[in-house]
């Protein structure tokens, strides 16, 4: 196991989360808007090479995944690829969120925050 990579993922992911936290506290943006802003900023192949999951797990990675998927699909299939590539690349995360979300709503009920 490459522990140096794990450390880099820890630090990079943490720093991206600090940027997100400053946006939340200083700008009064709602979390939904923060997610959109960070999701749209995912132009960063180099950061992924450097930090692995430190760059792909935060939502910025979602944006870059969509962009990367689109480009590689465009290369192989042309214009149709612009429409199919993005979601294809991100399908695993989205489908998992929908499916597990549905399951959770079947088996669980919301509870009040204790704090």
């Amino acid at each position: 196991m490459d522990w140096y990579m794990v450390l880099k993922a820890f630090i990079t992911g943490g720093v991206i989360c600090i940027i997100g936290q400053i946006l939340i506290d200083k700008t009064k943006l709602t979390p939904a808007r923060i997610l959109v802003i960070l999701g749209g900023l995912g132009w960063y192949k180099y950061l992924i090479d450097f930090a692995g999951c430190g760059a792909t797990v935060p939502l910025t990675g979602f944006g870059s995944l969509l962009a990367k998927g689109t480009i590689s699909e465009v290369k192989s299939t042309g214009l149709i690829g612009a429409f199919t590539g993005g979601i294809k690349a991100a399908a695993g995360g989205i489908a998992a969120a929908i499916f597990f979300g549905y399951i959770a709503s079947l088996v669980s009920k919301p509870k009040i925050k204790k704090q």
Binding site: K28, P31, K111
Partner: protein, 337 residues
């Protein structure tokens, strides 16, 4: 035409003080952990109270609170002429669904979190104007149904800013009658809509403080009273931030209310232990604090003259998404023994 009951610009002195025969209050589990818990008639163990949805639970709280107030007053429900109630849910469904089996003529009211005092003002007018002998007034709110309607799903892992307030789960209900031995509603000052230009929906206290100041000072000017006429002055749900702002605003106009003023949202929760940030809010806040705490203090003659100012933020989630500022309102009644 001479308005014999009107004094000054917007205050009214009832020709026959209206008697508050009984009150009842039911609150949720978080309120049970708060400093006022021993004053409430009933504290629930969970927010669902055996119902399937938050909305149904809030309706049940309204129903049981009204029934409890009626039975405490000893008046049979057929002798009650009007039921005046309101809440925060769309089209006031908590009140109308909770009271659909009461068989009492129902008038639904909306004044955001000022609804409780609004209902007592309207009820007093009915009684003083000889339209009714007995009236029941009620207001309610529920943390979970309010979060769902105005903010985010409960399970969303977001942080609440320090200026945000915690909607009180609870309801208060009072029975107003023509005859009785007190405490009595003697004067009231309905408020004007005041917009201070605040747009932050997480800082309701600041948005409503201007309205509270306007009503408070109008009340003093109209009646010729000063702050020390009252043993205690309570606002509804300005919270810690709004309370400080109101003290500053009033003192800037020459009224010092620092010694005898408090806010029901501040009283309801322990800020350090319960992590409620700026304090409680919602229709149920002043409703349950008045029906529980203040009414018992009046009965025990610990307070003899009290001014209740219920504050409301007249907005919804659509208006705040469209970038509108938040207009506030505040209604005041004085209750004396």
């Amino acid at each position: 035409m001479i308005f014999i009951k009107k004094v000054g610009n917007q205050s009214y002195i009832l020709s026959k003080p209206v008697n508050i025969a009984a009150t009842a209050s039911i609150v949720g589990p978080k309120e049970k952990e708060g400093p006022l818990h021993q004053f409430f008639d009933q504290c629930l163990e969970d927010e669902f109270w055996g119902e399937k949805s938050w909305e149904a639970a809030e309706s049940k709280i309204v129903k049981e609170t009204v029934n409890m107030a009626i039975s405490k007053s000893g008046i049979s429900s057929s002798e009650i002429d009007f039921c005046l109630a309101g809440d925060l849910l769309n089209q006031c469904i908590a009140s109308s669904f909770g009271l659909r089996e009461t068989n009492i003529p129902f008038i639904g009211l909306f004044g955001a979190c000022s609804t409780f005092v609004e209902s007592m003002i309207v009820g007093s007018c009915f009684i003083d104007g000889d339209f009714a002998n007995n009236v029941v007034c009620s207001a309610s709110s529920h943390f979970c149904s309010a979060e769902k309607q105005f903010r985010f799903p409960l399970e969303l892992g977001n942080q609440r800013p320090p200026s945000s307030q915690w909607t009180v789960t609870g309801a208060g209900s009072t029975i107003l009658t023509k005859l009785g031995t007190g405490p009595f509603i003697t004067t009231f000052t309905p408020g004007k809509i005041v917009d201070m230009g605040i747009k932050d929906a997480n800082n309701m206290g600041a948005a409503m403080a201007g309205a509270a100041e306007d009503t408070l000072i109008s009340h003093f000017k109209d009646t010729g009273r000063s702050p020390n006429y009252y043993d205690a002055i309570f606002t509804g749900d300005l919270g810690h931030i709004g309370k400080d702002i109101l003290i500053d605003l009033a003192s800037s106009k020459g009224y010092n209310i620092k010694s005898n003023y408090n806010d029901c949202g501040v009283l309801m929760f322990d800020k350090t232990k319960q992590d409620t940030h700026s304090g409680g809010s919602g229709c149920g806040c002043i409703a349950s604090v008045f029906s529980g705490y203040v009414y018992k203090m009046l009965q025990e003659k610990k307070y003899k003259k009290v001014l209740m100012i219920a504050t409301g933020a007249l907005m919804n989630s659509t208006s705040s998404q469209q970038g509108e500022s938040i207009p506030g309102i505040a209604h005041a009644i004085s209750v004396e023994v």
